[in-house]
Amino acid sequence: MNRHHATGIVTAFAWMVLGFLALPAFAVVPISFTDTRYLAMPDEHWSLQHWRAFLSSREWHDSIWQSLWIACVSTLGAVVAGTLCAIGCWRVSSRWSERVRTAMILPMAVPTIVYALGIYRLYVDLDLVGSAIGIVFAHTVTGLPYVVLTVSASLANIDPRLEQAARGLGASVGQTLRWVIVPNVVPGILSGAIFAFIHSWDELIVVIFIGGRAFFTLPRRMWDGINDNLDPVIAVVATAMILFTLLVLSAELALRARRPRS
């Protein structure tokens, strides 16, 4: 039995810390039902007034749609390019492809503010500030690491001789990808897609810089709302975002449960 013993005090303290981790975000749920006009727990009774304000707000609706389609399109881009890249690096498997794969992780390591400055300068030159294609490309390239990592992890479990066998039997590279490799890494692709989606859905700093006047995604509108006035409607939005994230997360967990453990 390779387990050790922790005393009751240590375990109790650990659970307190875990509570500190898991619970605070949910404070926005009761606050979203407050009957006050400022951020506070419901005072005398629970009220739906802020939910009504949210549901009837044109601005918040526009933001949700913008966030949603930007996240969908950039996820699609990141999944296609990232999957191909991971497969290519896996098959080539040389010093150079290893370097490419390491470079692909850079967007996760470099602080976002640095990239935000750089991409803003590039987009000013290309006249892409406040353009849909600009935001989609920025979210695609910063979403790539998630896909490359998850697909690479899936590929690590495949026997490379499978690919050689397919090629040896006369399949083209395209056919080998379509019928042999991709079907074997579907769980990795889907996990990567979910991570890339959440990345774009939550992304704030880049959008602040390159969104211009046209693009107020959900995080950006929340950010402005928090900075301007602490309207309880933001608690409603936060609650909705938590629900949505939990939904996406349970989809990921369901996928993981279906994936055979290596």
């Binding site: 387990r3 650990a14 981790l21 404070a27 010093r95 692909m104 990239y115 400055l117 910063t142 936060a238």
Partner: protein, 286 residues
């Protein structure tokens, strides 16, 4: 194979098609990621005029130095607290049975997935003077006046630790899982007290985890923007927010890009140093 002698490794003709499918992602990375980063670096040594004048500000400007000090202080404090709390959680997780372990892991991963913006907002709501934390403390008679918990360094620290703790727990736990606890049992049977066994056997074995988790949390803390900006209420300027202010309000591109470059190079240097000791790619989930 003769073709290998004059072609770079990996450029075997058989792999041509596979390099081709690497290309779209690589092209995007180069033109939409690396080129912009290079532009930040170049701007920092050319704006307003060529030279290292911007970098001199690191040594001469008091507001720059104040920001750097604030950043280092908060990053160090966050790292310390996150390591301390994270160690206890990882230790308890290592000892727990598997169903408890799953629930604990769920608690660690849950905040990971809720947007930092939402979490920072939740903390503002919780810690504000009319928020539930202050209300609760006053109701119990522990305090008479609401404590200033937000729009100051206390608030930033609470929010940062909350964001960074999962990274610390996961890195430490991955390390502790690889430790053979029979070593601790052996120490106990040889007469070590429980504390001695921990202090002289278990703790030294978790050193790689502590170094890895500490560096990771410190690096991530350095570049943080959203949490310090919201919970600091503009009063606690860390480097990322300071950069944004330089660009958005005062249009000092030279200063902004210089600090951004400094931040980026520090982070990359720390990661490189860490990669000498640990497999860094695993920290990012590979």
């Amino acid at each position: 194979m003769p073709s290998q002698s004059n072609a770079p490794a990996g450029w075997r003709p058989r792999h041509g098609a596979y390099w081709l499918i690497i290309l779209p992602a690589l092209a995007m990375l180069v033109f939409l990621y690396l080129v912009p980063l290079a532009d930040v670096l170049v701007t920092s040594i050319t704006d307003p005029k060529p030279g290292l004048d911007n970098y001199l500000l690191l040594f001469t400007s008091t507001s720059v130095q104040k920001t750097l000090l604030t950043t280092l202080r908060i990053a160090a404090l966050t790292t310390f607290v996150a390591l301390l709390l994270g160690y206890v959680v990882a230790y308890a997780m290592r000892a727990a049975n598997s169903s408890q372990q799953r629930l604990m892991l769920f608690c660690v991963l849950l905040p990971f997935w809720i947007s930092v913006l939402v979490r920072s907002f939740a903390w503002i709501a919780l810690l504000s003077s009319r928020g539930p934390v202050n209300a609760g403390l006053m109701a119990w008679g522990l305090i008479d006046e609401p404590l200033p918990l937000v729009r100051n360094e206390t608030g930033v620290l609470i929010g940062m630790v909350h964001v960074m703790l999962p990274y610390a727990v996961l890195t430490l736990y991955a390390n502790m899982r690889g430790i053979d606890v029979r070593l601790v049992a052996a120490a106990r049977s040889l007469g070590a007290s429980r504390f001695q066994a921990f202090r002289m056997v278990f703790l030294p074995l978790t050193r790689p985890g502590l170094i890895g988790a500490g560096t990771l949390v410190f690096i991530l803390s350095l570049g943080f923007y959203v949490t310090p900006a919201l919970l600091g209420g503009g009063k606690v300027l860390m480097i990322a927010e300071y950069v944004a202010v330089q660009i958005n309000d005062t249009l000092r591109w030279g200063l902004g890009t210089m600090l951004a470059t400094t931040l980026m190079l520090s982070v990359l240097a720390a990661l490189w140093a860490l990669s000498r000791v640990l497999d860094v790619k695993r920290l990012f989930g590979a």
